[in-house]
C-alpha cells in the first residue's frame, strides 16, 4: 500500500505521533472554522506543503493517494449543484442548477472537505498504523478495540499476499476468462480466505498460549525524537492554522 510505504519512509517517521495527530486535528478544526472557499483551499495547500517540504513526502504520491477522494468529491459537488423537482406538463422530473448563494455554500463544503482530506493525508502519509495504535493506547481507547486493530493490521498483509498468490494461480488457469468463471473463482477464493480466518486465528491463539498470554496483547513502544519540543511546535503550528482560518479572505 502506497500510504504505508510513505508512512515508514518519510523524514518525520521518528516524530511523535501525538504531535502529528495534534497538527492534523488543528487542520481539520481550521477547515470547519474557515468561512470562505479561498481560505480553506489555502489551508489545504499549506498542509500539503508541510507534508511535502517538511516530511519529504513525494508530491506525486500525495496527489496519487488523494486523487480517488478528490474524484468522489467532484461527483458529490456535481450532485449538490443540481436541484430536482417535479413540474411541467406532462408531469416530469426537472433538473435545475442551484442559485448563486447555494453554489457558494457548495463551494465552501467542497473546499472544507478538500482541506480535511489534505489534513488526513498528512497524518496517514507520515504516521505508520503501529504508531497510531500506540497513540490510541495512550488516549485510553478500549483494550479490545486496540487488540482487534493490532491483530487486524498484522493479518491484513498476510491476507493480501494470499489473495495475490491465489488470484495469480487462478488467472494462470483462465479462472477469470468469463464473468461466470470470474464469479466462481472469486467465490472459491473468498471461501478459502474465510476458512483461513479460523485456521490463522487458531494458530495465533496457540502461539499466544505458548507465551503464557492471558489477556491483552502488549508491544514495546518506539522512542520518539524530542517528543515535548515536537508537541509544542505542532500545537503552535496548529494554532497558526486555526488563526489563519479566521482571517476573512
Amino acid at each position: 500500500m502506497l500510504i504505508e510505504q510513505c508512512a515508514y519512509t518519510n523524514r518525520w517517521r521518528q516524530v511523535s505521533p501525538a504531535a502529528k495527530g495534534l497538527f492534523t486535528s488543528c487542520g481539520i478544526v481550521a477547515a470547519f472554522v474557515a468561512r470562505s472557499p479561498l481560505t480553506t483551499c489555502c489551508l489545504a495547500v499549506i498542509i500539503l506543503a508541510v507534508a511535502v517540504v517538511g516530511a519529504r513526502v513525494s508530491l506525486f504520491r500525495f496527489l496519487k493517494v488523494a486523487l480517488p477522494a478528490v474524484l468522489f468529491l467532484a461527483v458529490s459537488a456535481a450532485t449538490l449543484a443540481v436541484s430536482v423537482r417535479w413540474g411541467g406538463f406532462p408531469l416530469r422530473l426537472q433538473f435545475h442548477l442551484v442559485n448563486k448563494a447555494e453554489l457558494s455554500h457548495i463551494a465552501l463544503t467542497c473546499s472544507r472537505s478538500l482541506c480535511g482530506i489534505s489534513a488526513l493525508m498528512f497524518f496517514s502519509l507520515t504516521t505508520p498504523m503501529t504508531d497510531i495504535i500506540c497513540l490510541l493506547r495512550k488516549l485510553k481507547f478500549p483494550e479490545v478495540m486496540l487488540d482487534i486493530m493490532t491483530l487486524g493490521y498484522r493479518a491484513l498483509f498476510v491476507f493480501l499476499e494470499v489473495i495475490h498468490d491465489t488470484r495469480t494461480a487462478q488467472m494462470a488457469r483462465l479462472g477469470y476468462a468469463t464473468p461466470r468463471l470470474a464469479m466462481r473463482s472469486l467465490g472459491i477464493l473468498t471461501a478459502n480466505l474465510t476458512l483461513q480466518v479460523w485456521q490463522r486465528s487458531n494458530a495465533l491463539h496457540q502461539a499466544a498460549l505458548a507465551r503464557n498470554n492471558d489477556g491483552s496483547l502488549m508491544f514495546l513502544e518506539d522512542e520518539y525524537h524530542r517528543p515535548v519540543l515536537t508537541l509544542l511546535t505542532a500545537s503552535c503550528s496548529g494554532c497558526a492554522l486555526i488563526a489563519l482560518a479566521m482571517v476573512p479572505l
Partner: protein
C-alpha cells in the same frame, strides 16, 4: 461509497457519531463477554477484521459489465453476528480512512452507522427471518447480502439528504437525487455481492461444514 472527510456539517458529524456510539459500545461489551467465555475469540475477531478489510481489495465482476468490490456486510453479519460487526466495522472503516484514504475521521460516525450498524443488522435480520419462514439457505444468504448492501447505501443517501436538503424539493428530493446516483452502481453491485456470498457459503458448506456448524450458521439438514 464512504462519506469523505469534512463533507458533513459539524452538527451532523457529531450527531451520527453519537448515534453510532451505543451500538459500538454494545458490540464491544458483547465481544468482551465472548472473549471471557472463549479466549480464542480475541484472535478470531482480529483476523476477521483483516478479512473484512481485504474483501475491499477483491475486484468483483458486476452485472453491468464493470467491476467493483464486495463490502462483506452480509457475509460478516451471518458469520460473526451483527453485534460483533459494529466494532469490527468501526476498525475496518478507520483502516480504510487511514490506509486507503476512503472515508474520514469526522465522518467516521456516519460511515459506521450505515456500514457497520444498519447493513449488518439488516442482513442478519433478513437472514434469520428467511430461515424462520423456511426459505432455502441459498435464498436467505442472497437476500441478506444483497438487501444489506442496498440498505447501507440507502442509509448513506439519507445521511447526505439530511445534511444537504434540496433547495426546491427538500430532504425527499435530495434523497432521491443521491439514491439515484448510488443506484447506478449499487443495485448491480448488490446483486453481484448476493450471488458471490451464495457461492462462498456453498463452497464453505461443501468443503468446511464443521466450521459453519461451530458458528451455528448451518445445521445438518442444510448441509444435506
Amino acid at each position: 461509497m464512504h462519506i469523505m472527510e469534512g463533507f458533513l456539517p459539524v452538527k451532523h458529524a457529531i450527531g451520527w457519531s453519537v448515534a453510532s456510539a451505543p451500538f459500538v459500545a454494545y458490540g464491544l461489551r458483547s465481544v468482551n463477554k465472548r472473549i471471557k467465555e472463549k479466549p480464542e475469540q480475541r484472535m478470531l475477531l482480529g483476523v476477521a477484521t483483516a478479512f473484512t478489510f481485504v474483501l475491499s481489495a477483491l475486484k468483483m465482476p458486476s452485472v453491468t459489465g464493470s467491476c467493483s468490490h464486495p463490502t462483506g456486510t452480509g457475509l460478516g453479519a451471518i458469520l460473526f453476528g451483527p453485534a460483533a460487526m459494529a466494532p469490527i466495522g468501526a476498525v475496518v472503516l478507520l483502516f480504510q480512512a487511514l490506509l486507503l484514504a476512503h472515508g474520514g475521521l469526522t465522518t467516521l460516525g456516519a460511515n459506521i452507522f450505515s456500514m457497520a450498524i444498519v447493513g449488518p443488522f439488516a442482513s442478519y435480520g433478513i437472514y434469520k427471518l428467511g430461515r424462520s419462514v423456511k426459505l432455502p439457505f441459498g435464498v436467505c444468504v442472497f437476500l441478506a447480502a444483497a438487501i444489506g448492501d442496498l440498505l447501507t447505501y440507502v442509509t448513506t443517501s439519507v445521511q447526505l439528504a439530511l445534511a444537504f436538503p434540496d433547495p426546491a424539493g427538500g430532504i425527499f428530493a435530495s434523497f432521491m437525487k443521491f439514491a439515484a446516483v448510488f443506484a447506478v452502481t449499487q443495485v448491480p453491485l448488490a446483486i453481484s455481492e448476493g450471488l458471490l456470498t451464495v457461492v462462498v457459503f456453498n463452497a464453505l458448506a461443501r468443503f468446511n461444514p464443521q466450521e459453519l456448524r461451530d458458528m451455528n450458521v448451518i445445521t445438518k439438514e442444510v448441509q444435506a
